[in-house]
Symmetry: none
Subunit: 206 residues, 4 copies
């Protein structure tokens, strides 16, 4: 609807911008920010270097945009089950599933994402920290709220809801990392239910 307002030219520009972002993401996530040059991005995106600078003020901006978009997509996909499901257990299972899907879809770009969300200290995105933190906090708050209500309804044992949220994050991350790094090993079922079971058994009332 509202995008109708954009002229064809603006539409095209937007589309080209996306194209550049996607090319850059692929390269960055394979080799890292510092090992990819603007020339390489330009080549992959099939634009001239100068054109990239029409879309982004500089390399850092281009990078920030990638991280921002990634963060937003991830946030959207992880929030969705948490907001859709009424039942706490279902919400958590949905969340774990969404995270697993995310990891499967974006294996390599994930490292980029995590290096940004988990170690804001020495990354490129100065100034992005706050935005990212905001999204992350939203997610954690939402998780905490779900735990809080589940505790009230005696679905899970009484514990600090924030601590539970952190726990869930930790569990999912560690399993997903493990699977990411060792795609071949199968000591146990490699799907969301493994994590869900461990977490839920751990926190549930008998």
């Amino acid at each position: 609807m509202e995008e109708q307002r954009l002229s064809r030219k603006e539409q095209e520009k937007l589309w080209r911008r996306k194209h550049v972002l996607s090319a850059a993401l692929e390269l960055f996530s394979k080799k890292g920010y510092h090992n990819i040059s603007m020339r390489q991005i330009a080549k992959k995106a099939e634009f001239a270097i100068g054109t990239l600078y029409k879309f982004f003020r500089n390399k850092e901006d281009l990078y920030k945009e990638i991280v921002r978009e990634m963060a937003e997509e991830y946030h959207r996909r992880l929030m969705e089950p948490l907001e859709r499901e009424n039942d706490a257990i279902a919400a958590i299972e949905g969340y774990i599933n969404a995270k697993l899907d995310l990891f499967s879809d974006h294996k390599s770009s994930l490292l980029l994402y995590l290096s940004e969300t988990q170690s804001p200290s020495f990354n490129i995105s100065a100034g992005l920290d706050k935005e990212m933190q905001k999204l992350y906090n939203e997610l954690m708050d939402r998780l905490a709220k779900i735990f809080e209500s589940a505790i009230k309804r005696k679905k899970i044992r009484k514990r600090d809801p924030r601590a539970l949220a952190i726990s869930l994050e930790g569990l999912t991350n560690s399993f997903l990392f493990y699977w990411l790094e060792k795609p071949e090993e199968h000591p146990f079922e490699k799907d969301a239910s493994t994590i869900a079971e461990i977490f839920l058994k751990g926190v549930s009332y008998e």
Copy 2:
């Protein structure tokens, strides 16, 4: 004792080398490998650039050495409680405590360590991967073995020991990261016992 064998000169050289490593660590962990120049390291270490190259073949070598030393210290400190304690529960509590101490002592350098152990794909330490993986696997194996025996002795519920090891890793990491990033917030007791309780309650019989 055995270090008596080193001449004063050798001792001094070793000390100077350590001095450079420590200066570099501080810089790298604050800004990352690519954002720190040899000139900056030289300045911080109060040596001439050329001197750094007496100690390390090149920048990459210097970096690898840092990561290697860090990894070895961390491994040592985390393994220690696991090998000292006979009781599974005590071992795990000891492990969590050791990890907390580690995080407190080496806040910033830790990010360097984790960026190496957790995302070997686009880091600098080509060839260091295997060493690091070996240490990490040793740790995980040791944890798994402890869980295995605890399960046999019915101390904790039957689950895949490897999965338990991964879980513990995830839980500790997420809490410690959380505390690292938000040193001011105290939604719950910020010590090892919080994690230990969550983990152990989750996995224990009744």
Copy 3:
């Protein structure tokens, strides 16, 4: 004609490349490869350093290209009279003349050329040796063949044709070097005929 195919841009690029080569040649032949920096070449060619690297992968490549072009020109100019003239004597006289012209035109660059053809052991152009040797051998073979046929036709005394070729090389080089180093001295006529006479009287029948 065929160069019409090159676009104006390509033409200009080629021209600029030549310009760099010529600036570098002048510097190298005055001070030698190791005593000339890329910065100096850039300055002389009135380009930024970075621009040099658009034309040549690195300093060595730039140097090799100079030597290669020089060798090819020299080869062309020296071969020409040998292939044009049917008469052995005329061919030799033509060759000596061509060499004299060459020396006059390219005084300084010649030392570069000779330091490459005559002492392939410790020069920069590893890998260029073979090419240069090939050209040089072609020339010597051609000279030898001319002598062979002249001997058959009893134009010159019977001797090993290869030895005669080497002799001619030696004579011409020594005179030309002599003239190059002492442009002012005139103990005898300073032109091709001096060498030709010495050589031909030496080898001819009566």
Copy 4:
């Protein structure tokens, strides 16, 4: 006799100096001035770097000393037959023989020598030129004088004696270079007599 005046210490110093020169010569003649570092020379000579600087003011000085000594030895050895022999023909044959011996003895270091004598323009030995030129001119003068007297005695045809000297230089150099670069090929007898015959037949009466 006169060296008795030198104390043992001075003798030793002199001896050590020679040792350094010889080590450096070996290295320089294999790889060239710019590809050999003071460290390498120190190592080969089994001295500390600092010690080299007791003997020579700097790298260039060390190099000049090598070239100077080399030039003096060569000069001595080439002059000797020219001054010993009374007969022009014998003197020339002796000279060619001496040159051949020289080339055989000092194959590699010769390139160093020739790069200095033949292309004084871009070498390291700034200021050495004059000395070298003096020695070289002495040699050429002596050769010229011999030719002059031989012409007077009708041993060889009338020609400019200087030109004959240059010719002899050229012939010997070209053959010796040829043999140096292609030690395996034998198109003709590879000894002094080949050159002597060519030269003498070329210039002689009859």
